[in-house]
């Protein structure tokens, strides 16, 4: 997708992808035939620039034909540059501006509670995104309101737009920050499927307040020249790089 569009965000799409696959395959109670059903689980991709990862999973789960992936960043296409609820079936939040998804998820969680519904609200945040102060307004609010139906992942890939997070604005102990905001916190390897599934089970058991999993991930996971390389936060691979990347991922080309 990013190669075709000659733009976009491959690195963060690959760091989040294993968690998305696990969520869509094992947890989310959603129906691609009724993407707007009110009483469905929500998945809010707050780091909305990592849209190629989400579009691929949505297509795989039948929300739209794979052919539509070619419309990524193309005029009139359903796959907008950043995920957008008004354009793409299966997208629950119009993201693109960082620091907003958790608050929106809190609204969805309140609605589920008012509806007396069992539905669960999942939110994925980027770690760079945690630099936005409004995330912590939201973290405080979710704990205050004891939103046990709100489950959050932090994609801890340690890289943001310009550089490594440690060079831009250090996070120090991310888990300790969430604990200090009275969240249930667990750390996992965000590329180890067994660890991810165990994490989801752990989340299921937290019902008296919000839960967050800090998922340690690798930006550009699976493609040697992208892995842990800040240059691939927001850059598309060349023809040659595409071929190499797909080969490394085991895709027949």
């Amino acid at each position: 997708m990013t190669h075709r569009a000659a733009a976009g965000h491959p690195g963060g799409s690959l760091s989040e992808i294993d968690i998305l696959v696990a969520l869509y395959s094992t947890r989310l109670r959603i129906d691609p035939k009724q993407p707007d059903l009110v009483d469905r689980d929500r998945f809010i991709l707050s780091k909305g620039h990592a849209s190629p990862g989400m579009y691929a999973v949505l297509a795989e789960h039948g929300f739209f034909p794979h052919k539509e992936l070619e419309s990524y960043r193309v005029l009139g296409g359903i796959c907008q540059g950043h995920v957008d609820m008004k354009w793409t079936p299966g997208v629950d939040f119009s993201a693109g501006s960082l620091g907003m998804g958790l608050s929106f998820g809190i609204g969805c969680a309140h609605a589920a509670r008012l509806d007396d519904s069992e539905r669960t609200i999942f939110v994925m945040l980027g770690d760079g995104e945690l630099q936005e102060g409004s995330v912590w307004e939201a973290a405080m609010a979710a704990a205050h309101h004891e939103l046990g139906n709100l489950k959050v992942f932090v994609d801890r890939n340690r890289i943001q737009n310009d550089d490594f997070i440690d060079a831009q604005m250090r996070m120090f102990d991310v888990a300790a920050k969430w604990r200090a905001f009275s969240w249930a916190v667990k750390e996992i390897d965000g590329h180890d499927m067994e660890d991810i599934l165990k994490g989801l089970e752990w989340m299921d058991g937290i019902t008296d307040g919000p839960a967050v999993i800090i998922a340690h991930t690798v930006k550009g996971k699976g493609i040697s020249y992208m892995e842990n390389n800040p240059a691939f936060h927001g850059a598309a691979p060349s023809d040659e790089q595409l071929l190499q990347g797909l080969t490394e991922l085991g895709v027949e080309v």
């Binding site: 009110v38 957008d84 907003m100 809190i106 609204g107 609605a111 509806d115 409004s134 405080m140 205050h144």
Partner: protein
């Protein structure tokens, strides 16, 4: 005399049995008057603490799930969440209704930090957004309740201090997007909003004593502007005065100017705050200091008429 913020509180109270209505507060429920709803329906009132950015997006999440949120704080503090409103509410066209109280220099002694004089301009810039500034408590109640029928988001500024009640028994004349003619004259059309509607009516009486007859309109909705009414009055009177407790840039005067210059060029004099901030003072003192009181509307009308005769 009553304050339009009380009208907002009254509207929420009248909607307590509407199960889709939820109210969001950012610590200022006692001031914006959402507290009455909270007292009646605590389970449908969400406290967001002093966190406006979060509040606006929580409201968006509720709207996306089928609820109709009414979120209020001071007008000035809604602006802190402008980008959340832009990207999280207006862009996906979610029916979140924002009430900014204590707008304008009329707010008084709290001083310039609390006196939003730019809110109407900045919310007018957002696609999908309805922008209102009612002039009394009755119209604030009626228009707030009508928001329930809007398909998209809205912003309403209410005032802290009491003003003349103009709509008691005239509730049926109010409709979002339609200005209300309070006085008919053929010499000048005075189009006002908010706390300056009562001042415009006073100004019209003073002008009348000098043999000048003014039409006076309460343009409670700035966006969408009632262009038909502006066109009709401009044709009828040949010149226009706008009056608002807001900057001259981008508010009611800006909206009317934008319409007239493209459609029906006519002399227009705008009464508003001229590119400066307010300060501490009583409401009336502030209107005098910033030259947006009754006498200033009279003077603007005289200027507009003289331009017409050139």
């Amino acid at each position: 005399m009553a304050a339009s913020r009380d009208g907002y509180g009254q509207a929420l109270l009248e909607m307590i049995d509407d199960k889709e209505v939820v109210v969001l507060e950012a610590d200022l429920g006692k001031s914006t008057k959402s507290l009455h709803f909270r007292n009646a329906r605590p389970e449908r009132t969400i406290s967001c603490g002093i966190g406006e950015q979060n509040m606006m997006l929580v409201a968006a999440g509720l709207a996306s799930s089928g609820y109709t949120p009414f979120a209020s704080t001071f007008a000035i503090f809604t602006e802190r969440a402008f980008e959340q409103i832009r990207n999280g509410i207006a862009r996906p066209n979610l029916a979140v209704h924002i009430c900014g109280s204590h707008g304008g220099v009329h707010t008084g002694t709290d001083g310039s930090s609390a006196q939003s004089i730019e809110d109407l301009a900045i919310y007018r810039t957002l696609p999908n957004m309805t922008v209102m500034h009612p002039c009394d408590d009755v119209s604030a109640t009626v228009l707030t309740k009508q928001c329930r029928n809007l398909a998209g988001p809205s912003y309403m500024r209410t005032a802290r201090n009491k003003t003349l009640v103009l709509y008691d028994g005239r509730e049926d004349e109010l409709e979002i997007g339609k200005g209300v003619v309070h006085r008919t004259g053929v010499d000048v059309a005075i189009i006002a909003c908010g706390v300056l509607v009562a001042k415009a009516l006073e100004a019209a009486e003073i002008l009348s004593a000098d043999g000048i007859e003014a039409s006076v309109v309460d343009m409670h909705t700035l966006k969408p502007l009632d262009e038909d009414l502006v066109a009709k009055l401009t044709t009828q009177c040949g010149c226009v005065v706008t009056a608002e407790d807001h900057l001259l840039i981008g508010g009611l005067g800006g909206a009317v100017a934008e319409f007239l210059v493209s459609n029906l060029p006519a002399p227009l004099e705008r009464v508003g705050v001229n590119d400066r901030f307010g300060e501490s003072g009583q409401a009336e003192e502030m209107l005098d200091l910033l030259a947006i009181n009754t006498a200033d509307i009279v003077a603007a009308a005289t200027r507009a008429i003289s331009r017409k005769k050139l």
